[in-house]
């Protein structure tokens, strides 16, 4: 794939532009998650509003990229790996757009939480956010480099975020049982955690698409526990 060269350099450029566009959206969504989490931990609602506003750009980029992919499908009629690349790109941009929406969800929750007294210092949540950010970055990296190993790594990390979500859930449950005044806030924090977990799912989805793009093999619905030998 690295060595791929088309006779039409313009076609080549178009494919590269799609790749760049995807990374662009990816970077924006990653930043959105980061900022949303920052607004939560630093109790700064201004930047949360910015996240909500900036999501428009992600949405715009998403539709634009999809249109460009469809134009290539129509005009160039790609085959083999190019066809997989284009279809993968369409799916990945969908994932990224959803991730952007979830960052907005987190930002909205952050604004509400910031209006109420601090529930507790956030420890697991930022850790989870870091992991999720890393996952998006790695999934895009694997996309850039056609790196199957990195895609595999993303799939593995997804398990950890699931566990973290579970842990946060249990912790907040005890909070709520001890003091009913914390229920509202706890539920909101839980939703943040749930959103992060969903983002991790989407990152895994991207990694699956990368595997499909490189190998042509569908790994989307295979699940395996952490540490278990990966399916052949």
């Amino acid at each position: 794939m690295e060595e791929r060269k088309h006779t039409s350099s313009h076609y080549e450029m178009e494919l590269q532009e799609i790749k760049n566009g995807l990374i662009y959206i990816g970077v924006l969504t990653e930043k959105a998650i980061q900022t949303a989490m920052q607004s939560l931990t630093e109790r700064n609602s201004d930047i949360a509003h910015k996240v909500i506003k900036d999501d428009d750009e992600i949405d715009k980029m998403d539709t634009e990229l999809e249109e460009r992919c469809i134009r290539i499908l129509a005009l160039r009629q790609p085959t083999a790996i190019d066809l997989r690349f284009i279809t993968t790109a369409i799916k990945i941009t969908g994932h990224l757009e959803r991730i952007g929406d979830m960052a907005v969800n987190i930002a909205e929750k952050a604004i509400q939480l910031n209006e109420e007294p601090k529930l507790k210092p956030y420890i697991d949540l930022p850790r989870m956010a870091d992991l999720v950010g890393e996952m998006i970055k790695n999934s895009l990296d694997s996309f850039i480099r056609n790196d199957l190993e990195m895609a595999e790594e993303v799939r593995r990390t997804e398990q950890i975020t699931d566990d973290l979500n579970e842990q946060i859930f249990r912790e907040l449950l005890t909070f709520m049982m001890e003091d009913s005044r914390t229920i509202h806030r706890s539920l909101m924090v839980m939703q943040v955690s749930k959103n992060l977990e969903r983002i991790a799912d989407h990152a895994k989805g991207i990694a699956d698409m990368v595997t499909y793009m490189v190998t042509g093999e569908c790994v989307r619905h295979q699940t395996y526990a952490l540490g278990e030998k990966e399916p052949a």
């Binding site: 590269q16 790749k19 760049n20 990374i23 970077v27």
Partner: protein, 581 residues
């Protein structure tokens, strides 16, 4: 090369030989034929004259004889063309000969000849005829006919000789061609070898040929070109190395994108700048390499406008580097436009800008706080409190305290600016750090006693003296110790360690105080920088203590290092230069 040349020369020689043969053939073949035929004709005529024409009987007798000696066919024809005697054929079978061209010619001119192809023997026949009587009326004709075998034979012989000569010439031509081609090719081959070496980039001097023809001129020209080329290459290399040196030694990061927008060159400064955050970025697009939306946005803007773009971009999320990015096109060949991106690290500039802004804000704040208090109390007194002597006394006490604080602040600031400007005169002398320290320690005994602090000092034996200004050294130690005592809670400990390390005397003051957050450590030493504003001001600091220490240490050609752990304590190390003995 040589073979080619050889064949070319040989071929041209052979063409010349063949051509000359052909022309020879054209020119001489007919001539020879004519001469030979004339000769035979004359001979036959003379035989014809021999025949006695007096009587028919005699003629018939002579016929055989003549035919024998002349080796020709002899025919006698009467005036009407009827054959009445023939040396070879039966006259009864012969037709009328009157229409034959030789007879007609003989009738008109006195003698006649004709060459005709004879079907029966397959060669040309020469027919000669004369009238039987030299005066008219003509009574008959004598005709002699002889095949032209001889002519053919002679011609064939001549041709054989010519062919032989041609073969010899051809063989000679072969040798000449060989020699010529060799002699011609030798200098050309030499030139070819020379240029081949040049093409492969081997060092070549000049080529000298022993010929004096065109090849010599060619060699001279090539020598000239090689000279020119090499000086051009040298010039280009020089330019290139100048540029490369500039690129590698400049502090700005530079990268160049090729026509496909992929990174094809990264200079050292940029690799260093990005070393922590990015892997090898060669061959990637800007987006792939930097994963930075702002940078990509600037790049797309440049792509759209093609005019130089100057933007500020923050690279990396951990330990971010703020760079001012300039994107411009490198004008190259049309259609293959390259783009140069220059990264100028402005992180430090930004930081300094922040320090400056903070400083102004801090100074005004620090000055305003005591002033507000003083003005407030004075106004209260002015408004009527002057009558209550107790209040007045209390207010004046407070005002005085604030005024002193203001004074201390201004003095500290003065010290700093003087040290910074180098206006302060330091009286360097060899000083025992131990003496100075023990001299300063009593100042804090009361304070330390109050907080029940445990102060331990551990001085290495036989420490060398250091070069310092005694008063300023005292100030340094007082400031550092003051901080240690101020920020250590009750029942804490302070350890003072003085030792020697490399070429320095190192004084370390370790406390079990509140510590400083990691990210704040590097900002200590900035004027008015406080970790926890409200708290340290309560403790009576001006926010300038460590800043003074830092600058005084620099003036002493030493340095200050601070390590700290939040909640555990802080370790301040002061490095002084030893006195060289």
């Amino acid at each position: 090369m040589k073979r080619n040349l050889f064949f070319k020369i040989l071929f041209s020689y052979l063409v010349i030989v063949c051509l000359s043969f052909f022309i020879l053939d054209l020119l001489i073949k007919d001539e020879i034929k004519k001469v030979m035929t004339d000769k035979i004709e004359a001979e036959l005529l003379s035989y014809a004259e021999l025949i006695d024409l007096s009587s028919a009987q005699k003629m018939s007798d002579q016929l055989k004889q003549i035919a024998l000696i002349s080796s020709a066919r002899v025919t006698l024809v009467d005036a009407q063309g009827r054959v009445f005697a023939d040396s070879e054929k039966d006259i009864a079978q012969l037709e009328n000969h009157f229409s034959r061209p030789e007879l007609q010619e003989a009738r008109l001119k006195g003698k006649g000849k004709s060459i005709r192809f004879s079907q029966s023997i397959g060669v040309d026949m020469l027919y000669v005829a004369i009238p039987m009587k030299s005066e008219s009326p003509i009574t008959g004709y004598i005709r002699l006919a002889r095949p032209l075998h001889d002519v053919q034979n002679v011609i064939e012989k001549i041709y054989q000789s010519i062919f032989l000569a041609m073969m010899i010439v051809a063989v000679i031509a072969l040798f000449i061609a060989l020699i010529f081609s060799y002699r011609l090719a030798a200098p050309i081959r030499a030139l070819e070898r020379f240029t081949e070496r040049l093409r492969q980039g081997h060092p070549v001097g000049a080529i000298f040929l022993e010929t004096s023809d065109e090849t010599k001129m060619l060699a001279d020209n090539i020598n000239y070109l090689v000279d020119e080329l090499q000086s051009q290459i040298r010039l280009a290399n020089e330019e290139k190395s100048k540029l490369m040196t500039a690129f590698t030694s400049m502090t700005e990061g530079v990268l160049i994108l090729n026509a496909e927008d992929k990174i094809e060159f990264v200079n050292q400064a940029l690799s260093n700048m990005l070393a922590d955050q990015y892997e090898d970025i060669n061959g990637k697009t800007l987006m792939e390499a930097f994963l930075n939306a702002d940078l990509q946005k600037s790049f797309l803007k440049f792509k759209a406008t093609h005019s130089t773009i100057l933007e500020e971009v923050t690279l990396g999320s951990v330990d971010p580097v703020i760079v001012s990015v300039s994107i411009s096109s490198v004008h190259n060949y049309p259609g293959e436009e390259k783009v140069m991106v220059v990264f100028h690290d402005v992180t430090m500039v930004k930081k300094l800008e922040k320090i400056r802004v903070d400083f102004v804000a801090n100074v005004t704040h620090e000055i305003r706080t005591p002033l507000t208090a003083i003005i407030g109390y004075l106004e209260t007194i002015n408004a009527g409190a002057i009558n209550n002597i107790d209040d007045v006394k209390r207010f004046i006490d407070i005002s005085l305290k604030q005024a002193r604080r203001l004074n201390r602040l201004v003095e500290d600031l003065l010290v700093i600016s003087k040290v910074e400007l180098g206006e302060i005169k330091l009286h360097f002398e060899a000083v025992s750090i131990r003496d100075v320290f023990l001299g300063a320690l009593p100042l804090f005994e009361a304070q330390a006693g109050l907080k029940k602090l445990n102060i331990q000092n551990n001085f290495q034996q036989n420490l060398p003296h250091i070069l310092a200004d005694r008063d300023r050294l005292t100030q340094i130690l007082v400031n550092v110790l003051d901080n240690a005592i101020k920020f250590t809670p009750e029942d804490g400990s302070i350890f003072i360690d003085v030792g020697q390390k490399d070429n320095h005397v190192v004084l370390t003051i370790t406390d079990t105080g509140i510590g400083i957050p990691k990210e704040e450590v590097q900002r200590l030493g900035e004027r008015f920088y406080r970790v926890d504003r409200s708290r340290s001001r309560d403790l009576g600091g001006t926010g300038l203590g460590l800043s003074i220490v830092k600058h005084l240490m620099i003036a002493h050609d030493g340095r200050m290092e601070i390590e700290s752990q939040l909640g555990r304590g802080t370790k301040v190390s002061l490095f002084f230069s030893m006195v060289k003995i």
